[in-house]
Amino acid sequence: MPTQVTVVTQPRQDVPRRAFVAQIMGLPMSIHVRGPQALGPGVAAAVEAAFTRLRADEAMFSTWQPDSPVSRIKDGRDRLVDAHPRIRHVAALCELAGHRTGGSFAAWLPGPDGRQRFDPTGLVKGWAVEEAFTALLADLRMRGPHDALICAGGDIAVACSRADTPSWVVAVEDPRDRSRSLRSLELRTGAVATSGTAARGKHIVNPSTGAAADGLLSATVIGPKLTWADVYATAAFVKGTAALPWIATLPDHAGILVATDGAVSTIAGMTAQATRWSSLASTV
């Protein structure tokens, strides 16, 4: 007698879900959890632990707090070589980011006095969020199959450990009209980061020229890890229109660029995964 196989085609809509919001690093940070314990105290505690990790990184890496460890290094009071391992790890990642972006990302920039100052802010947010999110997923895993999403001021990481839930839907904002979306992406695992000037004005500096980047309205990068999606989005924004062929060389990443005239380009990276992301982006 043949075995009956039931194929579930409709994702379940009744999985409990809860959102949490905190303000950390000057940003609204939202965490959404979907799964059997989403409304329970255990998940709330796990999310609070993630926020606590982010606050600890904020205290360590803040360049706004004049006596934070990174501020002390930035203004020359302390040396990087003596710093906390986490700070040296970030410094090494910044070095790697410089190489991977062909110099469009730099944590060492000349200050007003010409001295090179260490400011890893451009990498820290995405990295800290990814770290906290990874720890959160490990916490959640012990409590059953949960999906999770984190949105940190417009940079997003998602993960799914269930097969019966709808994919997370991430909208990419239209930089010309921030109430509208340019594209919507369905992701089960991965990250989306956008760099642009729509929210804060021209604040992204090209490290090779020292001038504010203005070649694009926004650059969005989709990839497996938020640290790199974030770095690549910043670098793409700095590169301007030159980012178009550059993103195509990045393994596992896809991009959406908005030119100053409003033209939208969608770029696939080199792998099947990125191609899938890209085809999603271009068909919607």
């Binding site: 809509q13 303000q23 417009g154």
Partner: protein, 173 residues
């Protein structure tokens, strides 16, 4: 202070207009008052109640004032008065929606929908999204609910105006 509250509540009320709502079992497409359903294939048969007069008129009435239920305005922060603010109940085509936010030290510490279009909010998913954009660009008609918005860094001040805040508010527990 009064102006800020007004601006904030206008925004919230506006966002409320963007609320869509779908039941545990079936999605419902939303349309804006000024746009008709542009070929979206979703069916809302049998799941929605209609409030015929509510849609287009609500956006103009939604800008009415908010009611602070607590105040400890710390002018030092300069970014808004503390307290809990409840927006006007806004009639949507799916029912009445009302949002409450709490501001501490000029920061929004919580936002919650205090009135849902259904008596049992925990059983319902309330989704908020930019309806005009989605009608044209939704990935699949059946998953027409945005979970997060990627964009240029949202500052804390910009958060309350953001679509993300409305999405979060719909799921705060």
């Amino acid at each position: 202070m009064k102006k800020i509250v007004l601006a904030v509540m206008t925004t919230i009320s506006g966002l409320v207009m963007l609320f869509s709502y779908h039941t545990s079992t079936q999605s419902v497409a939303a349309t804006t008052p000024e746009e008709t359903d542009t070929g979206n294939t979703q069916s809302d048969a049998g799941t929605t109640t209609t409030a015929p007069s509510a849609t287009s008129s609500a956006s103009s009435t939604a800008s009415a004032s908010a009611t602070p239920t607590a105040s400890a305005s710390s002018s030092a922060s300069g970014s808004g008065g503390d307290g809990t603010y409840t927006g006007d109940a806004v009639e949507t085509r799916w029912g009445t929606v009302q949002v409450e936010i709490t501001v501490e030290n000029g920061k929004i510490t919580s936002a919650d929908a205090v009135q849902f279009p259904n008596e049992n909010p925990k059983d319902q998913q309330i989704n908020a999204y930019a309806v005009p954009a989605l009608n044209a660009e939704v990935v699949q008609a059946q998953s027409a609910s945005i979970d997060a918005v990627s964009g240029a860094t949202v500052t804390s001040g910009g958060y309350i105006e953001s679509l993300q805040s409305a999405i979060d508010a719909a799921h705060l527990g």
